[in-house]
């Protein structure tokens, strides 16, 4: 843990130094710009420059990192006194499966739309990480995205990513047209019926 704290503080300290440098940067299109010329408190009588506030914040970050490093060396912070590893075997495995699953989920959203992504991610999580029965996993991973689709896309018109063009044309456009032509009562009924299906499958799984 001590080594991890030390290394993290060094990385964050370097990031702070980079941010200080970055704060002094001018716009890309201004070739005559002199680095650091925007961090003053009153530039040509027009108040602080755009780099003033971020520069001093980054400086504050750097000072804090140095303070953290000193504490780590002197073993005064709790992590620097701990003999436990930064991450045990379970934590590493969990981060790989959960974090990896999340990144996979976002890639699915990019390619196959938000709702198909949700369906696949829910199924992966429930079936392989949660070890739920197959039937419950399938029903949940269909009902949850269906609910979200009805709520976000249809009722609130908060349109979510639809993935590749062919998927949007072949699936989402006709489905959207269908549901948007329905009344709010029909939509509410869809919520209730799919919810009942989910509740029944959950009960079946428990039994």
């Amino acid at each position: 843990m001590r080594r991890a704290e030390f290394v993290t503080a060094i990385i964050l300290g370097l990031l702070s130094a980079y941010l200080m440098w970055k704060s002094g940067e001018g716009p890309e299109w201004d070739t005559e710009y002199v680095h650091w010329s925007n961090i003053g408190v009153n530039i040509d009588g027009s108040g602080p420059g755009k780099g003033f506030w971020p520069f001093y914040l980054a400086l504050g970050m750097l000072v804090s990192c140095i303070w953290i490093i000193v504490n780590t060396i002197r073993r005064t912070s709790p992590p620097s006194q701990s003999d436990e590893p930064f991450m045990d075997a379970y934590a590493k495995k969990m981060l790989l499966f959960v974090g990896g699953g999340l990144i996979g989920f976002l890639l699915l959203v990019e390619w196959f739309s938000m709702y198909f992504g949700i369906a696949i991610f829910m199924f992966y999580y429930m079936m392989f990480l949660g070890r739920h029965p197959l039937f419950l996993s399938i029903v949940t991973s269909l009902v949850v995205p269906f609910w979200l689709y009805l709520f976000f896309d249809i009722v609130m018109t908060k349109i979510q990513p639809k993935g590749m063009r062919w998927l949007e044309d072949a699936f989402y456009n006709p489905t959207g047209e269908f549901f948007r032509s329905q009344s709010l009562i029909t939509i509410a009924l869809c919520f209730v019926i799919s919810g009942a299906l989910l509740a029944l499958s959950a009960r079946a799984a428990r039994e």
């Binding site: 964050l12 003053g40 971020p54 953290i68 930064f86 981060l95 990144i103 938000m114 429930m126 949660g130």
Partner: protein
Amino acid sequence: MEILAALTDGILIAMQPHNLGLAVIGVIVGLFVGALPGLGSVNGVAILLPFTFVINEATSDPASPMIFLAAIYYGAMYGGAISSITLGIPGASTAVATTFDGRPMALQGNADRALVTAAIASFIGGTVATVFFSGFAPFLSSVALDFGNPEIFALMLLAFATFIGLGGDDIPKTMFSIFFGLLLATVGFDTISGEPRLIFFNDREQTAVLEAVGMTGAAENVPYFDSIGWFSRGIQFLVLAIGVYGIGEMIWTINASRYKLTMTETKISFSRIMKAIVGMKDAWKGTTIGSFLGFFVGILPAAGATPGSLMSYGVAKMTSRNPKSYGQGNPDGVAAPEAANNSASTGAMLPMMTLGIPGSPTTAVLLAGMVIWGLEPGPRMFEDRPEFVWPLIGSFYISNIVAVLVNLAFIPLFLWVLRMPFTILAPVIFVLSVIGTYAAYDNMYDVWLMVFFGIGAYLLRILDYPLAPAVLAVVLGTTAEQKLRQSLLLSDGDFAIFYSPFFDRDGKGQEWWIAPITTWVAVILILLPIILWAMKKIRAKA
């Protein structure tokens, strides 16, 4: 006496069946919209604004459309606490502080108590604010006008000072967290000069990377190598908040619990809810602080409910006999921000109605609604349009009562969510985090950034970095910088404008006391934990 008579008339009009019905519908809609991450009061009010035309046609009452919109606003303020407590995801910035103690309470199986505390504290906060509103609106709006840029920056400084206390014992890590959060808020286009700032991975850097891997050519031809869509959009508050609480905290909980977690009792009974209501006596202090401080911060232009709730949490913790219990599931830690955000949301309507200055995005939409209905918010509105103003104020009282009753009635439904096995709840929270972030900003860049922040937050949490101060700093960062720079522009770069009452701002020799007093209180609050920390270290050594 005149005010009391007008208010009574207003309440009676607000209690007419059609207005009461609209208040109930508005509160229920607002409650559910507010409970969902990514959707807040502003979405609810904006999306349902067109419905007010139908309402106006049906009722022919000028106050009815606004009563409906105000009820949505109230409902959403109550609803924000629900996702913070049950799912651990702050649905809106106003509910961030509720997560700090609401989530631990849910994890300890006390979600019902947390929800009841949030509902009742919200009710008290909202009612206290409405009483102030009805009694002192013109006077308070003139006080709010005395708060210029230096005063508001000093107030922000005071808020940051209270954050230091939120971080626990590790002062340098807390300070890092605050600076980091403030810095994240600066990414994007500078609001004053309009120039890009801290655009990481800009065209120049992208070209360098492409050349290094042997891919020459324009960066925009490569997927994701387009700086306009990336950091130039800035780093939004919800991206960090949902990342930290929706993803980071969830991964942390999974690791700590190994999926063997029951978040609440399986049976919710009336007696448990009643017990929770009786238990409100433990949260009276937070409720009081939140109700008064929230209202005061809420009436300031450009402040609003978020700083009000954060400051109230900080002050409640700072003045507590047992500050260490905050963050561990202290009911006061739920009551303070919840009372404050409701109180502040009523307070934010004051400058909107009396000066025509909206204090928050939601009040801006409400202002638009008022203009649509032919009203001209301003100092004369109380005299010119009493038939509109007093029923609206009356509806604040009624909406508050309706909201607390609806909220308490729906608690079993909210708790049902927590009875789900953790292996179903966890992916649902991840999914809501992703869809909520997308719904808020309509961009996958923000979703990727949210997941990145979440995983980073988990790793930093292992090393005891407090993340709450960073989230809070992102919320206030933009306003703080704007006010600081505008003040320094006014003073020609002289910092005395903040700490000296004798600094001559306008060449008239006037003394300005609010900013210096606030600044000095903030400085003392910042230095106090550092001094106490140093004394503790010295004593431990001795």
